[in-house]
């Protein structure tokens, strides 16, 4: 888009903008007509107000409420009557809190590292294939990205069907065909963590891949040619050229992936919770009711983990 400025002649707007030079005498008339409204609109506030208003109302206010409610005895449908530290102390004193925090940490670190590593590997592979003019790179990119587009709830259901320990579970029935003993992917708590991480990585990798691929494209090929003249080995090229140039993109990518993974909830819910009849209802209300008493900054992981810990706790 930026190159449009370099070719003003081709720009469709050049035609609109061009008369500006010849009709400068029209300016005072227009300005008078615009009047007070225009003066207000020349400041940033009216421009920002709609967006910031909505954010303030539906994001900022609830955040403050969450903090305030944490120090009261409020419940989901009852208003608070007094200030209380009970919510906080019951959360801090809860024996499951440690498990929950450890689960969150394991899940987040494993998922983020996995998504970035696999995303970088695919991006490098696609670059290598494009350099050799191999076919199918666009197809591979499209396939990987398609996983990213699948709604998280559907992703959870798909992986539940794959990990299922029933006869129709894809992975276990394939293992059985090969004569390998089936694995308790979801019912064994320690395997359930691995399964959730795999499902998350499968879906999220595309995002890292596409960001890092775009960043790889910006590296000057002349650097690699120079390295080839110097007889640099592949890992040396990667370590001394690719990685340093990717640093900014990797940091941005890591932050974005971290946010997405910390907010990940739907996949895990559908993966571990949806399969049992009657579960969704209790899953909807139990954590919410519990959180309304222990609601605070930790309410997020807490809510998520009420669902998790019922399986993993």
């Amino acid at each position: 888009m930026a190159d449009q400025s370099a070719h003003p002649a081709k720009d469709p707007l050049a035609r609109i903008a061009a008369p500006a030079i010849t009709s400068a005498d029209a300016t005072p008339v227009r300005q008078r007509r615009a009047g007070a409204a225009a003066r207000i609109l020349s400041g940033p506030l009216p421009w920002l107000l709609p967006a910031l208003g909505v954010l303030g109302l539906f994001y900022l206010y609830p955040i403050f409420e969450a903090v305030r409610l944490a120090f009261t005895d409020a419940r989901l449908f009852d208003t608070e009557t007094q200030l209380s530290m009970r919510s906080i102390s019951s959360m801090v004193g809860s024996s499951t809190l440690g498990v929950i925090l450890r689960n969150t940490l394991t899940y987040t670190v494993a998922s983020v590292v996995g998504q970035i590593a696999l995303g970088l590997a695919i991006a490098l592979l696609v670059m290598r294939a494009e350099r050799a003019r191999l076919r199918g790179t666009l197809a591979l990119r499209t396939i990987v990205l398609a996983a990213w587009v699948i709604p998280a709830i559907a992703n959870g259901i798909i992986w539940q069907l794959l990990f299922s320990e029933a006869p129709f579970g894809a992975i276990n029935s394939a293992l059985r065909l090969m004569g390998v003993a089936p694995v308790a992917w979801l019912s064994d708590p320690s395997n359930a963590m691995t399964s959730a991480v795999i499902a998350t990585i499968w879906q999220g990798t595309a995002y890292s891949m596409i960001l890092l691929y775009a960043a790889l494209k910006t590296i000057d090929p002349a650097l690699y040619e120079a390295a080839a003249i110097d007889n640099a080995r592949p890992w040396e090229r990667f370590w001394f050229i690719t990685l340093p140039h990717l640093r900014a993109a990797l940091v941005v990518n890591a932050i974005l992936i971290l946010i997405m993974t910390l907010n990940m909830f739907d996949t895990i819910l559908a993966l571990t919770g949806a399969g049992q009849a009657g579960r969704p209802r209790s899953c909807r209300f139990t954590p919410m009711a519990r959180c309304s008493r222990i609601s605070n900054w930790g309410a997020g992981p807490r809510c998520r983990c009420c669902c998790w810990s019922s399986r993993w706790g």
């Binding site: 888009m1 400025s5 967006a51 587009v149 709604p151 775009a214 907010n263 009849a277 919410m288 997020g300």
Partner: protein, 280 residues
Amino acid sequence: MVRSRAERVADWAVYAAMLVLALAFLLPVLWLASLSVRTQAEVFLGAARFIPEAPTLDNFVRVLRDGGFQSYIWNTVKLASLGAAGAVALAAPAAYALSRMAFRGKGPLMLAVLSVQMVSGLVVLIPLYRFMDRLGLLESHFGTTLLYIAAGIPVTIWLLKVSFDAVPRSLDDAAAMDGLSRVESFALITLPLALPGLISAFILNLILNWSQFLIPFIMLSADDKWPISVAIFRFAGSTSAATTQLLAAACLLAIVPALVIFVVLQRYILAALTAGAVKE
């Protein structure tokens, strides 16, 4: 260019790796498709019948005949597109101000907008639920759309700021000399030139909204108001092993629209995904 023997061997290795990756990303969806065209008897044969011997479209017919399904899809289309349009409409002026005007606190404001994105929806869930209850907006598509808009605004502001930054400022100056007001110059010059960016932002919002689960899950309890994400989650919770093939068919039908939008408009989605991060 003559390729050496070592390079040709490496090419085959690259091909092999690409094939493995493509399979790893295709197989889960193919498995879903395989389950969705099986009869109940073949579902229980597992991987041995990856390609069913007696494929049937019966499952799709049964899911589509269910009047509920059409309303779920319609609700999703409605919520996703209104939410995306609202987010773009509200974020555009804000992004314009952040791109074109100099004012105090601009840097911190942009950081604040971004950090809002970091707050999990789960943290605000309960206060938001109580707040919407007090406003009388629970159980309505109007209230749900407002929350979709709020959820989409931060990332949309960032995306649109990047596209507005790419429109030459000199055009604004020329417009001002011509006597155009800020609003006119925004509407007549910046917006049309940033159209690809606007479309990208709209489509990204559309896809994210198609996946949206938490907001409709807490806002809507009536079956006829649900979008597809909530519906298939509820359906998954109520199915047994005997109806797995129906769940697979419903799940496939739920992801197909998102996949079609993606494949057709891939260019815009890629533009949106890479816009913010590469132009650091």
